[in-house]
């Protein structure tokens, strides 16, 4: 699709996603990282809408922004004293990390842009896929769906058990 408005909006969301992800990684303040991650998750959700996966985009906003990010912020505020101004996190292995960052991105981009073999299907996904997700969930993927729901229940019970308030002496 080469509609100019579509292209501009795509690049806007791509820039938001990549820049805020870079800020998450390169800022030293943990609170700034957590709030920057919010913009990354919203940008990724917008990219999901571009990929015509609207249901996944809504799930991303609900689960990541509403659940995981709140958990992470809770973790940040629980494990750092919030009044202390200089809550910088230490950085280690900076040189191997930078080599890994440049190497991974360079190798992947080189592979993607020198591959001429992408053959997109004639029938790409178009429009809303909510109905198709419903059919797939209740037919082909019903066993993984049930398994993942039990796994999530067990994981949440386990997390509540692990993090429970422990009275001393018991």
């Amino acid at each position: 699709m080469s509609n100019p408005t579509y292209t501009v909006i795509f690049y806007l969301f791509a820039a938001i996603t990549v820049c805020s992800a870079a800020f998450v990684v390169f800022t030293r303040n943990v609170i700034y990282s957590a709030f920057s991650l919010l913009f990354t998750f919203f940008g990724v959700a917008a990219l999901y809408v571009f990929l015509s996966a609207d249901f996944i985009a809504v799930t991303q906003v609900v689960v990541y922004v509403g659940g995981i990010l709140v958990l992470l912020l809770f973790g940040v505020m629980f494990t750092n004293s919030i009044m202390q101004t200089g809550q910088k996190s230490e950085v280690t292995h900076i040189i191997p990390g930078t080599i890994l960052l440049a190497g991974i991105i360079g190798a992947l981009l080189y592979t993607f842009y020198t591959t001429h073999g992408w053959m997109p299907s004639e029938t790409t996904l178009q429009g809303s896929i909510v109905e198709r997700i419903g059919f797939e969930t209740m037919s082909r993927y019903v066993l993984p769906f049930e398994m993942v729901s039990i796994l999530l229940l067990a994981a949440l019970i386990g997390a509540a058990f692990l993090a429970r308030f422990d009275k001393s002496g018991k």
Binding site: M1, V30, L71, F78, T79, V91, H93, L101, I104
Partner: protein
């Protein structure tokens, strides 16, 4: 120019490569366990973008369903990991992953 203005598979793969690189960088270089977790979330998001991009241009539903399961697993992972981090903080009084060097209280 045609490459730049027509949004195709390569654009999504590029974004996903950047997110994967940043996530790996965070996991490797940061000492704060919470920021390491944020790096893991970035890696999972990169994988999800790839799944959905290939699913869109392939026309099948496999990538979409897999992305949905990845989101559920990420939620479970974040809950468990935060519980572990809170326990580590109770015992070691810090969440610096390089100072956690014993398995007994």
């Amino acid at each position: 120019m045609e490459q730049l203005t027509t949004i195709g598979l390569n654009h999504y793969l590029t974004i996903s490569a950047f997110l994967l690189g940043f996530g790996l960088f965070a996991v490797m270089t940061r000492k704060n366990a919470i920021v390491v977790l944020m790096g893991v979330e970035l890696i999972l998001n990169a994988a999800n973008i790839n799944f959905l991009a290939f699913s869109k241009y392939n026309g099948g539903m496999e990538g979409v369903m897999f992305a949905l399961f990845v989101i559920v697993i990420a939620a479970a992972e974040a809950a468990i990991a935060l519980a572990i981090v809170i326990n580590i903080f109770k015992i070691f009084k810090s969440v610096d992953v390089s100072s956690i060097d014993s398995m007994k209280e």
